[in-house]
Symmetry: C2
Subunit: 340 residues, 2 copies
């Protein structure tokens, strides 16, 4: 089965410089993928350097959604944006997935407008992968929804479990609820009610997970309100950056420490590779009738390539069907489709 | 001015072993402090090893609040607990501050019951210090309140600014609002409304701060709902632990890496000291008519000593008066005392 990924080549801090390079590498590495490069023709073509690759198609889109553009305006006024045209390709069935490093809010809004929601899902959620002591964890939502109901958290759990079930070929991934204590009595009303729904859901609910439990790998999937998830993710990013800068400063203090740095380079290098955020680049916008992956705006070609791989994997393993199937299974127990 | 700290010696994972040792060191190091050691006499006395120190008093309390005890039960049923007796000493004016490493929920509830709230403050908030790129930041709330109104966030800001103003002798510390974007339109309704209140408050409001901004030192004080603050703090702790373990693993991989570890030891040691969480131990329970400091339950004597220092500092610099003064200053503008 060949998988086709539509790439919004104009998005992100670096635009085509990064996205086109990553796309070339993507099709070179994998025989069973195709890419549709969407964006301003005269910006993309020169970067291909005359390469003729039958699995790469260029599709012109005259407009670009800027990083600070309002989502509503992007939908209304930019019908020929690279983001929109890439998503149209998914809707038309020409592509199996779309990847963009552009404006998150606009990508979310246009995706929802173009692709619509899967039956039984009220809101899309942003899901990303974080490293843990023992492997990794999928966390959602990371900012698409700032006021979630218990039912939304249950839907996030179903989507996260379906994703992990499909791409990691696992039958019953463990799902945890991000909370401020492990006991049932902890948390706000939304979280307490969500815990009850999760217990009754038939999913493999492992209970409350605290902030530090995220990194201890206490669950395969952790669900939370987008506000909380976004703060937790960014606080982690900020802390990791601060520690990296400080470690560099300490190793750069004087001749002796620089010698230590030289000798420790292979060790520090392996340590850095293990937690290289570029290897975790690519957040799924789950709940849509189509696979959409958001890359970090600052991604380089290596990082953007990981987002492309993630999208291809999701398409190849039938994540959408997996979500739909689980939603349908749960429907008789709980009318998820009917919640507000 | 001599400052007296009442110490709940029975709290925490290690009890008197840690708290009594830290108390001895505390009075030895500082001439102008006294300590009241509160707890089970026969557990504490042997640890003093016959030391006669006029600035250390032992006060027997027959009961202990356990780490998993319900706060309501702790108030009702344990009137002679070490926690309660230590807080009574603050209320009676015998002590200027209380420090406990015990059950957080019980400490919060008993503090509120014994000491009452400062006029104009609705709820206590837990405030701690985190290291940043450029120094440190005071963050509140960290879990006392899981559903905050905009007015509560404003009160947290006033308390945080008062604390920093007093203990760091600063006139107008910058206060930020933890949010999921820097723009005004980001966040949920509570946060948006809180931003408006903060803009009108006369405080030095520096705007929204994202999760990563916490560690970039974008503000001196950052306020948030207790749910969000708790998750951000614990996620940071979890990440730091994971990175520390992994770095150790990499340095312990083989003979060569162990040699690198030996040579890098001074560098890694300095790095670790800089972010040693024990140096940041001690969270203030702000908003009460009395100074109460919560130590981490797992604190060792070094960490517990930092919580004692923090409490003494807060008492010495008149944090309570500072909060009351600022509340009074703001009162004509906004009837903070009247919010629900």
């Amino acid at each position: 089965m060949t998988v086709t990924v539509a790439i919004d080549c104009m998005g992100g801090d670096h635009g085509p410089e990064v996205t086109v390079r990553a796309a070339l590498e993507f099709v070179r590495k994998q025989d069973d993928v195709r890419a549709i490069l969407v964006g301003v023709d005269e910006k993309i073509r020169p970067l291909l350097g005359g390469v003729v690759e039958p699995r790469l198609t260029l599709r012109h889109a005259s407009e670009v959604v800027s990083m600070d553009e309002s989502p509503a305006l992007a939908i209304r006024a930019k019908k020929d944006s690279s983001m929109r045209v890439a998503l149209d390709a998914v809707r038309n069935g020409e592509a199996d997935a779309c990847v963009s490093a552009g404006n998150t809010g606009a990508l979310m809004a246009i995706s929802r407008f173009v692709l619509k929601m899967l039956p039984g899902i009220d809101r899309p959620a942003i899901c990303t992968v974080l490293p843990t002591m023992s492997g990794h964890v999928h966390v959602l939502d990371l900012g698409a929804n700032v006021d979630c109901s218990p039912e939304h958290l249950l839907q996030f759990a179903i989507m996260g479990v379906s994703l992990v079930g499909a791409i990691e070929h696992r039958e019953r991934p463990g799902v945890g609820l991000l909370n401020i204590g492990e006991e049932d009595i902890k948390g706000n009303d939304v979280v307490k009610r969500a815990a009850e729904l999760l217990k009754d859901s038939g999913l493999n609910f492992v209970g409350n997970v605290e902030g530090d439990g995220l990194y201890r790998g206490e669950a395969d999937v952790v669900v939370c309100d987008g506000f909380v998830g976004n703060v937790a993710l960014k606080a982690s990013e900020g802390l990791a950056q601060m520690l990296a800068v400080s470690l560099r400063q300490e190793f750069d203090r004087n001749l002796l420490t620089r010698l230590a740095a030289l000798i420790s380079r292979p060790v520090i290098g392996r340590f850095k590779r293990r937690f290289d955020p570029r290897r975790y680049n690519g957040a799924g916008l789950l709940g849509l009738c189509g696979i959409v992956v958001k890359s970090h705006g600052a991604a380089d070609a290596f990082a953007f390539g990981h987002a492309l791989d993630y999208a291809a994997d999701a398409a190849r393993t039938g994540v959408l069907e997996s979500i739909s199937r689980r939603i349908a299974q749960l429907a008789p127990q709980r009318p998820v489709a009917e919640v507000a």
